[in-house]
Subunit: 348 residues, 2 copies
């Protein structure tokens, strides 16, 4: 009885020996609940939050052809949106090939003097399997548009065309090509989800190869831990309407890319890497994001290593919704913050 009282009081009373005396670790039983759409975000974002859980989140393709069809379906859906989006963001998009790697150059119609000699390299998300071709473009276009900066979007090889570490190899090929023409301090690297992981993996690879670090990076909601470790995989399961569950389609896609390689390898789970010497980093996530923990754990790890690292967390957003649509006010806000961070840290 006396122990119970102390444990209860300790919940509010601040420091105590409660943790040393506590009962054996026990999981939290959370009852079913109904979570309304929050009124603390823009109406446009409310409509995104209100969308139902992704259908078939637990029924991923089981064959290479199945993945290819799903992936091509996405790309086909996105393709017609690129033109109107280019106009709204006042950017032009041109396909290119850089040392054999497929890419796009995204050029703002106007570029402020400070950004004339800067380049941002973008590696897209999609669980290492989705978002080929035009589907690789939207996040890259958001930075080009809201940041008024030239962006090279890497349309890296994906399964079933190629497997780990093909995506990373293609990102590195483009980074090395840009290094030939641009001082490292003028280069940024960014991307979200698998693209956030790839951004971090590129830094680990660059360190290993003795290449200079870029001036700044922006890994958004990075898949920094592909082994399903992290508390929000549980707390935000069935809350996040994009990824939905740690054992959903994204986990299946990542394993398809890894092709049997150890998922704990820092080049698939950069949370396990040595991040000392990383450039200034800004990370972005949302309160409902299944990868909230992946993001904040990476932020703490960077800070522990003495890296200048900023974190922005958006109210009510599930995975990667901070780049869902350029017409959502919170999307503009997120990319203006990233652009501002790049502007502060990149050389002119």
């Amino acid at each position: 009885m006396r122990f119970m009282t102390a444990a209860i009081l300790a919940c509010l009373a601040g420091p105590s020996a409660a943790w040393a005396q506590a009962a054996p670790p026990s999981p939290r039983e959370v009852p079913a609940k109904t979570i309304p759409v929050p009124d603390t975000v823009s109406p446009a974002l409310q409509a995104i939050i209100a969308q139902p859980l992704r259908t078939n989140w637990d029924k991923p393709p089981t064959t290479p052809d199945g993945w290819k069809q799903l992936s091509d379906g996405f790309a086909t859906l996105v393709a017609p949106q690129i033109g109107p989006m280019s106009e709204r963001l006042r950017v032009s998009v041109a396909p290119t090939t850089i040392d054999g790697v497929r890419a796009y150059t995204i050029t703002p119609t106007d570029i402020p003097a400070a950004n004339r000699d800067r380049i941002a390299i973008h590696v897209h998300g999609g669980c290492y399997v989705l978002n080929p071709r035009e589907a690789a473009l939207p996040e890259a276009m958001l930075l080009a548009g809201f940041g008024r900066m030239t962006v090279i979007a890497v349309d890296y090889r994906m399964p079933p065309e190629a497997f780990f570490p093909a995506a990373l190899d293609d990102g590195m090929t483009v980074y090395k090509a840009v290094l030939r023409t641009t001082a490292p301090g003028r280069i940024a690297v960014f991307g979200s989800s698998a693209g956030g992981a790839l951004t971090l993996e590129m830094m680990l690879r660059a360190k290993a190869e003795g290449l200079p670090m870029p001036g700044a990076i922006a890994p958004g909601t990075p898949m920094s831990d592909a082994t399903q470790r992290g508390d929000s995989f549980q707390t935000n399961a069935m809350v996040d309407n994009v990824l939905v569950s740690p054992t959903g389609f994204c986990d299946a896609a990542t394993k398809f890319y890894a092709a049997g390689h150890d998922l704990a390898d820092p080049l698939l789970s950069p949370i396990n890497g040595d991040v000392r010497g990383f450039p200034p980093t800004i990370l972005t996530t949302g309160t409902r994001d299944l990868l909230l923990s992946n993001t904040v754990r990476m932020h703490r790890k960077l800070r522990q290593a003495g890296v200048e690292a900023a974190l922005q967390v958006f109210e009510g957003q599930s995975h990667a919704q901070f780049y869902r649509d350029d017409r959502v006010p919170e999307v503009k806000e997120a990319f203006e913050e990233i652009a501002s961070f790049f502007n502060r840290h990149l050389d002119r």
Copy 2:
């Protein structure tokens, strides 16, 4: 059918017109689940996360005497911990009175040259009703200990002794007293929960009175919105083992303090205030915190107003567990980060 396909694909495909076409806003139905204690935090923190929900979280006192007994109980529990904690953190604690306001001065046994002429003012948490006397001290001692900086902890008046805005008045009295001896750029203000709100409320009051801003502030998991707005009030309900629910004891305590005053007043809900001109601010919260949204919404609001504002979010932590116990590694990490932020932004 065509609409459904588009809506489903849009979940992954990036920007689309999906939000404009979406079904009417509908709440998320989240099934019951069991959330294990995460293995991604220190063993000491795991034991804190494993504690059961606070008993009687939904049975707050209903009389002034009931609140006083609860509050006194906490203080009695904490009092004997102050001595050992002082030794561990190498600080001394002395009660004082500043222009009639009860306070404590916390002095590190050694103070680095940069901190000699700096002072941090601390306003404690406890839903405006709890943590009188020694119970006001622990968070203040953490900054003094891990930051090696002199701290004045304000033991402000609380119900049933005095009601809104007595706590704020007492904080301001101490701030004005410190301003008489210390340049504003050398002063920091900090506190968590109700203390985080009070920190922000003090800035609003200082602006209104034409007083200078301090050099930096650190509102931890601030009760920035006392009207229960914010998505994590729902998503983290029954997940956070400290506050547990938006309609729990803390809401009752806040209403006891407000004594009928409008809870949306910026001096009770600083999210509704004009934060332009605020000093550099660092905010701290956890992924399971019921006030995660209160914290990240405040961070975004500060950034929107052009204020330099940093955010740190700790894995797996419920409300205010970043100052639960000085022997937890993540607690040391949180306060070293806050101290580092103060060191960068305060004048010498």
